[in-house]
Symmetry: C2
Subunit: 708 residues, 2 copies
Amino acid sequence: MGGFSREHFERLINPRSIVIVGASNRTGPGSYNLMENLIREGIDKVIYPVNLSADQVLGHQAYKRVRDIPEPADLAIIMVPRTAVPEAVADCVEKGIKTVLVISQGFADADQVGSELQNQLVELTRGTDTRIVGPNTIGIANSFDYFHTSFQRFDLEPKRNALVCQSGMFVLASGHFTTGLGLGIDIGNAAEVDFTDLLPHLAADDRIDVINLHMEGLADGAEFVRLAAQITPNKPIVAYKVGQSEEGARAAASHSGALSSEDHVVSAAFDKGGVLRVRDLDEMTELNKALLTYPKINGKRFAVVTISGGGGITVVDALSQHGLEIATPSEAVMAEIQTRNPPWMPVGNPVDTWMAVLKQGLAGANLDILNLLLQDANVDGAVVLLNAYRSTGYESLRELVDGIVATQQRFPDKPIALWAFGMNRHEVIEEAEKSGVVAGFGSPESAARALAGLYRYHHEIKGRTLAAAPELDDVDTGGAAAILQRAAADEVEVLGTQALEILESYGINTARAVLAADEQELLEIGAALGYPLVMKIASEQIVHKSDVGGVRLNIADPEELVESFREMCGGIQARFKDAVIDGVHLQRQHSEGVETIIGASRHAGFGPIIVFGLGGIFTEILKDVSFAMAPVSRSEAETMISRLRARAVLAGARGGDAVDTDAIVDAIVRVSTLLMDFPQITELDINPFTVQGSTGIALDARAILERP
Amino acid sequence: MGGFSREHFERLINPRSIVIVGASNRTGPGSYNLMENLIREGIDKVIYPVNLSADQVLGHQAYKRVRDIPEPADLAIIMVPRTAVPEAVADCVEKGIKTVLVISQGFADADQVGSELQNQLVELTRGTDTRIVGPNTIGIANSFDYFHTSFQRFDLEPKRNALVCQSGMFVLASGHFTTGLGLGIDIGNAAEVDFTDLLPHLAADDRIDVINLHMEGLADGAEFVRLAAQITPNKPIVAYKVGQSEEGARAAASHSGALSSEDHVVSAAFDKGGVLRVRDLDEMTELNKALLTYPKINGKRFAVVTISGGGGITVVDALSQHGLEIATPSEAVMAEIQTRNPPWMPVGNPVDTWMAVLKQGLAGANLDILNLLLQDANVDGAVVLLNAYRSTGYESLRELVDGIVATQQRFPDKPIALWAFGMNRHEVIEEAEKSGVVAGFGSPESAARALAGLYRYHHEIKGRTLAAAPELDDVDTGGAAAILQRAAADEVEVLGTQALEILESYGINTARAVLAADEQELLEIGAALGYPLVMKIASEQIVHKSDVGGVRLNIADPEELVESFREMCGGIQARFKDAVIDGVHLQRQHSEGVETIIGASRHAGFGPIIVFGLGGIFTEILKDVSFAMAPVSRSEAETMISRLRARAVLAGARGGDAVDTDAIVDAIVRVSTLLMDFPQITELDINPFTVQGSTGIALDARAILERP
């Protein structure tokens, strides 16, 4: 009976009948009476008020208990004091009501008692077909079907978007934050119904083009990412995660654990899911505007059409700051535009239209030039400046705005963004956006940021297919399992040398020393460790090994290995008759090369987060590290490397030789696979993982295991 | 007769009489007729229209030439085609008109011919008492005395601020960008009158509390900084410098030169001048709001008063992102506030007022709690959330806003910033700001950014006295001068070893090798270089010095020096009878330690910009360097060090020992002094400057000299 079905969803957002537990006759300002509001707003639903003391509530027959109502209503809304909520929920379950909206506050949002009450609610619905939304929610705002559970008058401005939030203000102010709203759901404390329950239904709803999320927490990160990765290639998800300032608060036993703050984990999860993360509410507004307004964007080369040279420069700054480009229109087009200017006024991009305005008027000149530019194959879109101050005289400005709308309709694939400045910018923007085809912004930065997000969605996320993590056929899962079982049996929680063994069993070179007693072992171990090798005499009596020829470096192949073995053992035995020689220690040759760190830490709900960085100062001081959520594909591993500020070190920037990043990619993928295979590994550090040429080697490693 | 006097300033911003050269009878839309506008707006000035063909212009008697007008008017406004401008300017000079506003375009803003025309204008006024503002300007907007030269209707919204800009739009849209405007001056191409000419008069004008600058270029950076440093301790300067995206475009012969882009130079100059640099126009608006609204800010611990828990979290994110703190109110105050909540709803900061609102109403609850918080000595200010959506019912909201205004008046030293969200935020903010004592913002980020700027001005800039660069009494200016003279005589442009000599003469340790022929020289040079020393035999015949005892390290003092000298020369001579020994080369012992880079490059108008960074990757790849404008004081040098992301390396982060940054501070100050003393040094690199313990040493250096 688990899951939140389509039926649950429909009953939640558009019920035919509603039970209101705690319906009240109190009316007037300050009563915040939801039922009164439903009636006043003419929302046409069958309402069953439940009230212990009254026979009638606001003219409707009232019921003492939920069980008394004549039918199992589609939706129950509970707004009684917190201590009375469990009984009400129990009644709903008994009555077979499938969706219950708990508006009441004072649960996990309040004190310990509240948290326990919240757990009770979840217990009450376990194994039943009843689902709880909330508690501590303002509920539903559905402008598609005109239904909302707000306790006050509500201005829904329908848009083809949805919002799932954890705070009522985001629904109530959705006209601002999401530029209007099609469907809003406040999941409050998300005791039961969570983001992951709603996403599939929002994805399936054709009335919704953009899904917005306001997140205070995310319980099942891995499931969220799985769903998001399915949805985002077809429908953008815009997420605003709060609590960004609480970084690095995490206590961890390993370097990697300490490095990956909650905020990094969320970013890694959003990356994998193709979720557009916004860092503030303005960005959420801008991105909704862009995604809802512009169907397409072919490239990032923008023309700037401006009546003010000074204004044009500010737009150039903003566009380049956000990774967009200033288009270079064809010479033909520029020559044509030049004819609108006096010969002594050279034309460039930004195109300063002032001289043309003096001849052709504000609308005439700007529209003429804008159309010339958008016809050009070298131009992917335009930013147009609107001088929105009264003095301009609104006629010419409105004429210009109307003309821009018409132009956008001629070139639907080339976004035209308006930057309106001056005291009347808000009216001008509102005016322009009525068309639904152009968007207006209050600053060049917000226009540029919105267009950059639009470009990112269309060129990096839309239609993408996630590369799967490779299946490794050369890993010895059994070997690793055996080591971990021994550790568990011995109640060991931290592995050192054995961590290196585990890595070896997953095909990662390490510098572990292995004893070879005879030539057969010698060759087996040599093959297992891989060349080049270091050989050291193994004998209690030989202390200063190198002084007596007891150390050989750079052994390149089996032949040299055997030969070295014979020379070393023979030679030393000859000189030290009574030395007991146990054999030799073989060790993968420590490479010089670049020091890196590869690690992982496991996060509740998200699973393993893999971390990569360069050694020493780069990781410890500059925090120049990158993260990815496991399982990590080769291309995701490549992205991790490319995100380091100091990635040039790997290209030999430091005077050292360039290293082959494939060795790093390979190791990251293997670490990711290891962590996916063995949940008992909670944290892992390979520090350093040294790379030279095309070989990487783990010189030291540390694994933290879950408490037995 | 140089300079731009108070008289020039007065005549420019508030003339009694005006000549309009190019006054026209053309009227109606699109004519942009300035004179028509002056008359329509009832600006009461004596107007002398100059027009070759008409006897009358708009009812005023017209004159053929400027020389024909009856008096030397206070201000001449020239708006004829560019080729006719020089003659008009010449007439003004001849007539003794002291301020000339050239509105006409097509000068340095256009083509080569235009640039030459602009130079002509400057030539025409040289040695006269006439000053040109412009060309390519919209002129003056003076709301204090109600005078403006805009060619269209103009809405001045008086504020106690000023704006000097290089683009008309900033004046025309000042109601937006600077929240209103007291005095606006567009200097256009700034052919003659520049920022530095106007700053002293804006500083002296008591009607102006905040000076805003929109800069496209800055000609005399050093003079600008000198003036700004005098003004900013008493009056804030807010500067928006455009062209930020054109970074690093600079071709330079040295590392330091290449590192310091125009943008870095401007930032260094603003730092030294105490100028508040804004990075976009929204920030300019926000900062004007904050500086004009709040007289004082005692600290950065803010209370957050919110009807929405979710909204409160976003404010916390924004405040901490901008370096402000979340106040911890006293237990007494929190206990008092707790009585407004049900016991099960714990109170914190942010203070969620919703439960109190249900009892006391929107205004009652929020005002009650806000006042409790501001009484607390642990609270320096507050951010209050306003739910600005129609549904709220404006009555309660207006009541709240009025109450906040009254509260602010009770606590004038504790800024209350309003974050209004929802569709009606613009009206609500406008409403609140009418009071002039509180400011409203459209997002928590803009509120936080504005408060952070306010805090920065009051606690880092206001009232500060700049530490002067120290006078160095131990530098051998003559020695450096001699080397530079030789170089100039030999037409040398790049110095290597001699650069080290110059640094030595300025008291910086170097690793230069010096020949000592006898014991007397030996001791002199030893003393000059400082210990520890390296001694190497100097003899053509001795090739492999170390093999024959021809190298001695770590010579600690004169005794050891002489002894080593005797042993080395004697011993070698004894063994190599026919070797000619010239003496020994002495060299400061190369220290190990941390590699840094100290450099400088000279920038037209700004003078020397000093650069400091850590060696290798930190400078080359991470561009982790900091800049300061010379002359650099010790505290400025300390700031340079503290600004490095990787500064922890100097504290021994890399496992190395911590180094004494005094050695770096000292070297930076000496380099700064050197560059100030010798303008012919255009660029300098000390790379590396190695620091160990308390000693730093220049291992290698390079100086670029101006072409002879």
